[in-house]
Amino acid sequence: MRFIFKTRYEQDLQIFRHRVSAGWYAALLVLLLAAPFVIPDYYRSQFVFIFIYGVCGFGLMLLSGFTGQISMGHAAFLAVGAYTETILQAKGIPFVVSAPVAIVLSSITGVIIGLPALRLTGIYLAIATLAFGSIVEEILARWESLTGGNSGLTVPGVKLVMNKLDGEIEFYYLCLACVIGAGFVVFNLLRSPTGRAFIAIRDSEVSAQSMGVNLSAYKTLSFALSAGLTGLAGTLYAHQIKFISPEQFTLAVSIEFLMMIVIGGMGSLHGAIFGSIFVISLPEFIGGIKDYLPQAVAEQTGLKSTIFGVIMILFVLFEPLGLYGRWIKIRTYFSMFPLYKKGMFQRQKAYQKSERMR
């Protein structure tokens, strides 16, 4: 068991809580930097997907996990990012310019969808964002002169500054840099007044307001930042899948993103990454166990979604904090060994709130 003896307030503002934890993250970084030279190409591309989903996970976590605004239309922001990137890159504009443009455009769409969010909460907001997602999907299919309609667009290779990136390994590093950057930015926000205002809105709007938080400004900001990050993920996504069409940005994708952060663990940044690892590796896992299943089950069409759904229900019932909650428990078990008690994380029943003003 480690006890951190704090002597300065700066210690609460550090990124890593102590040296050992910084050491672990450094080791992880070294592993990720070395990985593309060691692992087969197929797994490298799976890692790239994890990074891209991770960026998107950070974005959605900021909005849903920290500001408490649910969004079922995040595929639309991914689409705005992906299409902007594809169209600009086809014109020969490099990534260092096209990605910021894509981020800004997605953020603007985020502000637009954020406007109804000022009035709506909970399930109503979910429906509004869902409708928004379908609208964007429809626009992509109909605006043929720009998006190529249902026949889609082929994505050119990434041009970073001057030349095209030659190999997939460079692209792997680009995605790794983006996910680290996204995580850094979101983490910084969360240890500053803006992030705390988001958390305040999530937990109690009425008292957030009486502490001086301007609800509409911060909700809009949260939507914009979240959409911007998802737009960044979209630019990378386009290059990774090399061909984009409206079918890649359906409601199913938005729901997959939501499941990612719920299973990963709402309200934690680790959760976004755990969730993206889960979402990317589950199909692999199912593919792996297919051979051992009875044939009638293995060849069912909805196998993946069924397993997804069951896992989701199990998490909501038994581990509402998701994979991150599990991770904390395992970590505590080892750091306190052999003193861990079963009831240590027993959830206390909260007493009723009778007069919630919302």
């Binding site: 307030y9 007044p193 958390i199 937990d203 307001q209 930042l225 007069e355």
Partner: protein
């Protein structure tokens, strides 16, 4: 000399008149208490002072500003801090984070600088932290600084909410039933703290309270309400002896 002036305040919810033509004045440095049976309109008056509801008619003047024209999130920067009857803390955040949110009105936010956590952001964070630590010392909250609010007992949450209101550096503190749900000792502590807030910090307190022992111990003046109307005003003893107040509580 008045700090808060409430003039002919009326609030109607549809056909129901919750508050009718209530006027009173709070002087700087006093503890002013609103009492009355359930549904008398005390909390509604609170919510109009902190602009959660707009008044149907009447005015709220604080320090020469007309508060009812201010937007709800700006009220705190005029110097009005408040607590809620049913605790409204940020449950899934630590006590420290809750108190830091109390500093929000004094935080100059710039999300772009915060994304990169520039040195200026860090410097301001440390300043806020020092202010928060003063409040933590004042209310003896050191032991729970790092705990999640969701895991704290009710009595402690009540104190944390008081602390969060103090972190906003108010001139006027609105306490909505500070002793509700507290046991006798915790109520005693609350009384000491209210007196300390008045005497040591020089903050004016306007509170709603049912516990008459606490009321008579800390209040300088009391206003009794019933059915949204003013019944009596004066020192705790005067109001308690007032025939209409006795009638409102005990019947004729």
């Amino acid at each position: 000399m008045t700090l808060l002036k409430v003039e002919n305040l009326t609030k109607k919810f549809g056909g129901l008149t919750a508050v009718e033509d209530v006027s009173f004045e709070v002087k700087p440095g006093e503890v002013y208490t609103l009492i009355g049976p359930n549904g008398a309109g005390k909390t509604t008056i609170f919510n109009m002072i902190s602009v959660i509801y707009p008044p149907t008619s009447g005015r709220v003047i604080f320090n020469d500003h007309e508060l009812h024209h201010v937007s709800p999130d700006r009220v705190v920067s005029y110097g009005v801090g408040r607590t809620f009857q049913n605790i409204e803390l940020f449950e899934h955040a630590t006590v420290l984070q809750n108190l830091l949110i109390g500093r929000h009105a004094h935080a100059k936010t710039n999300w772009f600088a915060e994304m990169l956590f520039l040195p200026s952001v860090k410097k301001r964070e440390l300043e806020h932290r020092e202010q928060v630590e003063k409040v933590i010392d004042f209310l003896d909250l050191q032991a729970v600084r790092e705990s999640l609010v969701a895991g704290l007992p009710y009595g402690v949450r009540k104190v944390v909410e008081l602390a969060r209101a103090l972190c906003t550096q108010p001139k006027l503190l609105l306490l909505d039933e500070p002793s509700s749900g507290l046991n006798v000792e915790e109520t005693d502590d609350m009384a000491f703290w209210i007196q300390d807030i008045k005497n040591e910090l020089g903050i004016t307190v306007l509170m709603v309270e049912h516990d008459m022992t606490l009321v008579s111990r800390v209040s300088d003046r009391v206003l009794a309400l019933n059915y949204g109307r003013k019944l009596a005003e004066g020192t705790p003893a005067e109001v308690q002896a007032h025939p209409e107040v006795i009638a409102a509580y005990l019947g004729q």
